[in-house]
């Protein structure tokens, strides 16, 4: 696809000022090759994740299935500045640690697919409930942006959220949005670009292990894992899952499936070749 074919969609709201960078956002639609950066979109169900996805990519999307799963996979592209971003919509989940197929898909992609940025969409009106997933994502990756969505509803409920303090405590950027109105989308895009290009110092909130025996056990296990599976992205996290007796991870390590996961997910990053397309 050439640059000429890229559709440029004016934002429906709040882009009237001349200094707005809205003109620099181009929604590229369905072509998924030649992306400079891969961005994963995670979030609880009913947080407006799909609205954020549509606001970033426009209406044309690329729908398929995750390899070997019945879970729908949606992708789209957008262009910002001189870079192309591939956006991968992960299934809406409350957690990355239980065993549903949805959670497995989301977790495997964040861990092994190593997206350049993971955006966690949270419902500003149910922040406490939603931060569970955000904190779990931060355990796996430090390249994250929290999209504080449904700010319009939060305002209607009289909620005032100190998003700067939230960003300080989480150690990653927090962008308030009302995606239905297009509000905050340009800030979100600019922040994604900053994190993708490593222009943001990341100090993600992580579980603090205090017991010296536990710290020792985790680091021993992590270094063993690293030896067994070179290229394992976050050995500490896998070690913690093993110590929590997560049956899915235990099985993946025992059977050697972990090596396949590392290989499969990093292979998928390149382009649409690994996608199983829907017949439509």
């Amino acid at each position: 696809m050439t640059v000429n074919e890229h559709t440029q969609i004016p934002l429906s709201h709040g882009s009237a000022c001349a200094t707005c960078p809205a003109a620099h956002l181009q929604r590229v639609g369905i072509d998924t090759s030649n992306a400079d950066y891969v961005v994963a979109l995670a979030g609880n169900p009913n947080t407006g994740k799909s609205t954020v996805f549509n606001a970033l990519t426009g209406l044309r999307q690329h729908t398929g299935n995750w390899p070997g799963k019945t879970v729908t996979r949606m992708e789209g592209m957008f262009r910002y500045g001189d870079k192309a971003y591939k956006l991968v919509d992960l299934p809406g989940t409350y957690s990355l640690l239980a065993t549903s197929e949805d959670e497995e898909v989301a977790r495997d992609f964040i861990l092994f697919g190593q997206p350049h940025v993971t955006v966690v969409v949270v419902d500003a009106t149910r922040l406490e409930r939603n931060l569970n997933l955000a904190l779990q994502v931060l355990e796996i990756t430090d390249r994250a942006v929290v999209c504080l969505n449904l700010m319009d509803e939060a305002r209607r409920h009289g909620l005032d959220i100190d998003h700067r303090r939230l960003a300080r405590e989480l150690g990653v950027p927090v962008v308030p949005t009302a995606a239905r109105q297009g509000e905050g989308i340009m800030d979100l895009v600019a922040t994604i670009a900053d994190v993708a290009a490593s222009r943001y110092a990341r100090h993600p909130h992580r579980l603090l292990l205090k017991d010296p025996h536990l710290v020792r056990a985790v680091s021993d296990l992590a270094s063993d894992l690293q030896k067994m599976y070179p290229g394992l992205p976050n050995a500490r996290w896998v070690a913690l899952r093993l110590m929590d007796n997560d049956p899915r991870m235990v099985e993946a390590v025992r059977s050697g499936e972990l090596a396949d996961l590392i290989a499969a997910q990093s292979g998928q990053m390149g382009g649409p070749g690994a996608l199983e397309l829907a017949s439509a």
Partner: protein, 87 residues
Amino acid sequence: MSQSAPGAPRTFPLSELKPGAGAVVARIEFEGLQRRRLLDLGIVPGTAIRAELDSPMGDPRAYLVRGALIALRNAQAARIVMTEETD
């Protein structure tokens, strides 16, 4: 966090909470994925829970947990140990 010291507050299973009444989670007597699932739903020690709705057969029941209604089977609720709300 709950201690089982002498004079500790009375505990009872969540399944025995009267409709409309509230209590606080003392501990969860599950392990592994069932425990994980409950934690992900926001049911952790210290969480205030109110019994909200009964289904016609009385099982499952709906509980208000951190602003969301969550249905639990009595078999699950029986292993969530509650204590009376303090302060």
